[in-house]
Amino acid sequence: MRRQIPMIITFLVGTLIIVSEFIPHKPFGNLSTTLEGWFLIISGFAIILGQLSLFKVNIIKIHRRTPNWQYYIIALVSFSIMVLCGILWGTQQQPGLLTVREGMLNFFGYKPFDYIFKYFFENLSATMFSLLAFFMASASYRAFRARSPESTLLLIAAVLVMLGRTTIGSTLTGWIPNSLNFLQLPKIASFIMKYPNTAGQRAIMICAGLGVIGSSLRIILGIERSYLGGK
């Protein structure tokens, strides 16, 4: 029964949502709106569940002294500080349990949560993403080799798009007269992005769409059961 009841619910809800897309009138339209409302409530709880899970996983890793367990302590401490600051003093728009003292506001300029978010988290987060530039540079140098006709094509396209998608492209080929503007790097880059790229992307999207339909049907019909957990 532990598996059959969720499967029956999935079948009924899935079928109802599909039917309501084709018959958006009563009672199907109203039912699908109600179900969407339920989904929003459940997804809110999923966030809390995710946070609890994060806490649990980190504590287990520290307890078992897994490799680099010290980093999990930092993660837990940072997490707890943010949660405490948010609950105690609130955020920019939400009040907390305690009143924010004027001295605190004058010193930080923001509430503690917003201060940490703005001056720690934002910069750390942007730094992590920026590191990609360094690894991409190193990877491009090693990977973009004209070993075969296909890789040569990829290499040429990559260089043209890289030049065309920056201001260098306009500077290098801006002198080309308008009658030959198709030779300007930004135009070449736009052409590559608009036609070959779009064609490839569309093919991927159509395949992915068909895949989603297939796997959704498998879930609704109870063929795919991995979401229920267990074996």
Binding site: E36, A137, L163, R165, T166, T167, I168
Partner: protein
């Protein structure tokens, strides 16, 4: 000929160092280059220009601080254009940290527009989990999806929300998106189901995946792609900001990458030729 072999095995730390210098120097010395506005960016600009003053537009902040350098300049420039044209802006977020991104963009822009009032010309409805289902629910019952703004004040208290029950009274929708949920979901619901104009801004990495939506059916009216898209938009609104400054650094970084690709390929061809010659000489 050993030099060509070295071309193939350049220490990655040298690449990292040159990229660092290439990014830092243009930012320090404010090196900029000419910029051309592309069609996709022009379309977004024209979409907002064509809106009547007082029209309510919806902007969704579907990104977090990791992509702030690329997307935040778009948010600022969009708000600048909207407030200059007296458009009223309703904002939401499908990403939890989009709320803070929205607050920061509004703080930056509101200083330039002292006559803009929160609740009349602008509102931040905050974050709602659920992705595509949230958008679908907004289309059917906006007020139950967002009963209050990000500060918990009921939306009925704000004149900007008067009469908003679904997307009917929204002029257009713009999603500033760094992934999923984001622009794709807004296109699927707001344009494809309710036929409202949708435009967007994404990271440069995500832009190629969104370009198929800029098509004859105008699923996407236009697209701001990465820092360049943001810089072009700043050029159009005549308020050069962080994106314009950052383009110099990005251009030099791209040049350095291309330079290393060329060096790597020269090394590859010369050493391959040598190996071929040695092989052909062997009996």
């Amino acid at each position: 000929m050993k030099i060509f072999e070295r071309f193939l095995t350049i220490d990655r730390r040298i690449i990292f160092l040159l990229i660092f210098i290439g990014v830092a120097l243009p930012l320090i010395f404010m090196i900029t280059f000419n910029l051309e506005v592309t069609e996709n960016v022009q379309s977004v600009y024209e979409l907002l220009q064509e809106m009547e003053p007082g029209t309510r537009i919806l902007i969704s902040f579907d990104y977090d601080p990791s992509t702030k350098p690329e997307i935040q300049p778009m948010a600022i420039a969009l708000l600048q254009q909207a407030f200059t044209n007296r458009l009223r802006v309703i904002t939401t977020a499908l990403w939890p940290m989009g709320v803070q991104m929205c607050n920061e963009a509004y703080e930056t822009v509101s200083a330039e527009y002292p006559d803009i009032e929160y609740g009349i010309d602008f509102i931040n409805l905050g974050y709602k989990s659920g992705g595509m289902v949230t958008i679908n629910h907004m289309a059917k019952d906006f007020r139950s999806t967002f009963p209050a703004d990000a500060g918990g004040v009921p939306i009925d208290d704000f004149p900007i929300m008067k009469g908003i029950k679904n997307f009917d009274k929204i002029g257009c929708m713009i999603s500033l998106s760094a992934g999923d949920p984001g622009l794709k979901q807004w296109v699927m619901i707001v344009h494809d189901t309710f036929n409202k104009p949708v435009a967007g801004g994404t990271t440069a990495v995500q832009a190629p995946t969104m370009l198929p939506y800029v098509n004859e059916q105008r699923q996407l009216i236009g697209l701001l792609g990465g820092l360049k898209g943001a810089a072009e938009f700043e050029l159009l609104v005549k308020k050069p900001g962080f994106a314009t400054k950052g383009m110099g650094a990005q251009s030099i970084a791209h040049l350095i990458i291309i330079l290393f690709i060329v060096i790597g390929n020269i090394g590859y061809f010369v050493t391959r030729k040598q190996q071929d010659t040695i092989k052909s000489k062997k009996p």
